[in-house]
Assembly symmetry: C2
Homo-oligomer: 272 residues x 2
């Protein structure tokens, strides 16, 4: 089996998220698998580093798929009307270019490489970076409107930073988990939670070993409540201890969120 | 009569350009006038600094409208259920906020002020800046796709800059005019024609006293032909002398173009 890993950007506006769903398929994974089926003439399952919610974007989602070497050779030979067998780099370039040709304009495969068979986009991932963009200007964001949460308010960024400081570290984030039936551990480590300001608003940049369902959006919604003065920064500690979704703030809308990148250990599967 | 001037940004993707057209009105001017009619209960004509083509964007289009003082007072009194008459700044804030509330999400009035009665957005304009954005990266521009011309090619930027240098100055730009029936003078002055590079592509930034119909898009299409090596930079001189549309290059697509700003002389009508 050959294992292909790819880096993909998408504008999630029109989609029901990353994960394939039944028949009426408006998902990123579904779109990609449909093109792979067209190319290989067999069903190929892709594995993303994680799901992204409906409406959430990605600049650096990572996914992989396994496919028989003979299937790849056959498909590419057919495509090029030649039986000549060439190297991995050539195969990758062909598959990437085929995907980008048939994928819609809001999905782009940025890189595609052959990786060791044991590499798995989700299981091998060791970290993720998400950015949440808030446009605080009083004026409507005409050009960025699909990629920001427009909140024409003055937020207390110092208070938000104080609260963010209390969220950094290894905690049980059950209060920030959108799935009430979560059975597995809700303990996660946030390494960094920055709030970056610019002239149009602010960006919440979160880096951690992994994030629970809706976690970044609930973190954002809670930090906004702190920024509004509705919640004191110190309350974060109690919110964490409560281990109840109701203790945290509301969930920020999907459109402001973007999966920026996924980290893998060098030599542990990401490179051939 | 009171004269209101406003600065407006719009994403032109969904529109048939700035200028109002008959009944099936999908124009920026039409949308704005519909909201003004809703506010004032009388038809108010807006005057833009110039038309923008279908699909062209603006960050800094300028327009103005004249309206009877009594109409403004009546409309705002009704809106606030009070007969209290307040100053210009208050009136402007009310009108701007009303416009932004009822305009669609892709049109935003950034400023609105009272100006001397003689001020006219088109007739008083002394200069304009347009930017044309070309994405030359091989990868699809997922997030900017509606604001760039995607041209995954290597362009000779030095040659383009040489050609741009020959376009700067006062010339008869008939070869770059999209209107074959143009009766008025086609002489214009380009003060600056810069080509700015970044990691995703390049931006052609043009400043001049005014531009003919489609002129920036034809200038761009011609510069791209130079960048591709299909036209030598020196040919610009002959293209100008020819005074024939066919002598210049093709017209670049609308979506890469944006009207950045319009200049007015200080004290000659832009400030009260």
């Amino acid at each position: 089996m050959k294992n292909f890993r790819f880096l993909v950007s998408y504008d999630g506006t029109k989609y029901d998220g990353w994960q394939r769903q039944g028949n009426t398929d408006r998902t990123i994974q579904g779109k990609i698998e449909a093109v792979l089926y067209r190319l290989f003439d067999v069903s190929v399952e892709t594995h993303g580093s994680g799901r992204t919610d409906a409406g959430v974007h990605a600049r650096g989602q990572v996914a992989n798929f396994w496919v028989e070497e003979s299937v790849v050779e056959k498909a590419l030979a057919k495509l090029h009307r030649s039986r000549e067998s060439r190297g991995n780099a050539w195969q990758c370039a062909q598959i990437q270019s085929y995907l980008n040709e048939y994928l819609p304009e809001d999905i782009c495969v940025r890189e595609l490489t052959v990786v060791p068979e044991r590499f798995h986009s989700r299981l091998s991932a060791v970290g993720k970076t998400y950015c949440y963009r808030i446009h605080t200007s009083l004026l409507k964001p005409v050009f960025d409107r699909k990629y920001v949460w427009w909140l024409p308010e003055t937020l207390d960024v110092d208070a938000m930073r104080q609260a963010a400081g209390l969220l950094v570290g290894t905690h049980d984030f059950m209060s920030f988990c959108g799935n009430p039936k979560m059975k597995k551990s809700t303990v996660r480590t946030i390494n960094k939670l920055e709030i970056l300001e610019d002239d149009q608003g602010l960006t919440i940049r979160a880096h951690g070993d992994g994030f629970l369902q809706n976690m970044v959006r609930i973190l954002t919604g809670t930090l906004v409540e702190v920024g509004r003065g509705n919640v004191v920064p110190q309350a974060i500690t109690e919110i964490l201890v409560a281990r109840k979704r109701a203790a945290a703030g509301p969930m920020a809308p999907a459109q402001g969120l973007c999966l920026e990148s996924v980290d893998y250990l060098q030599g542990k599967g990401d490179l051939l």
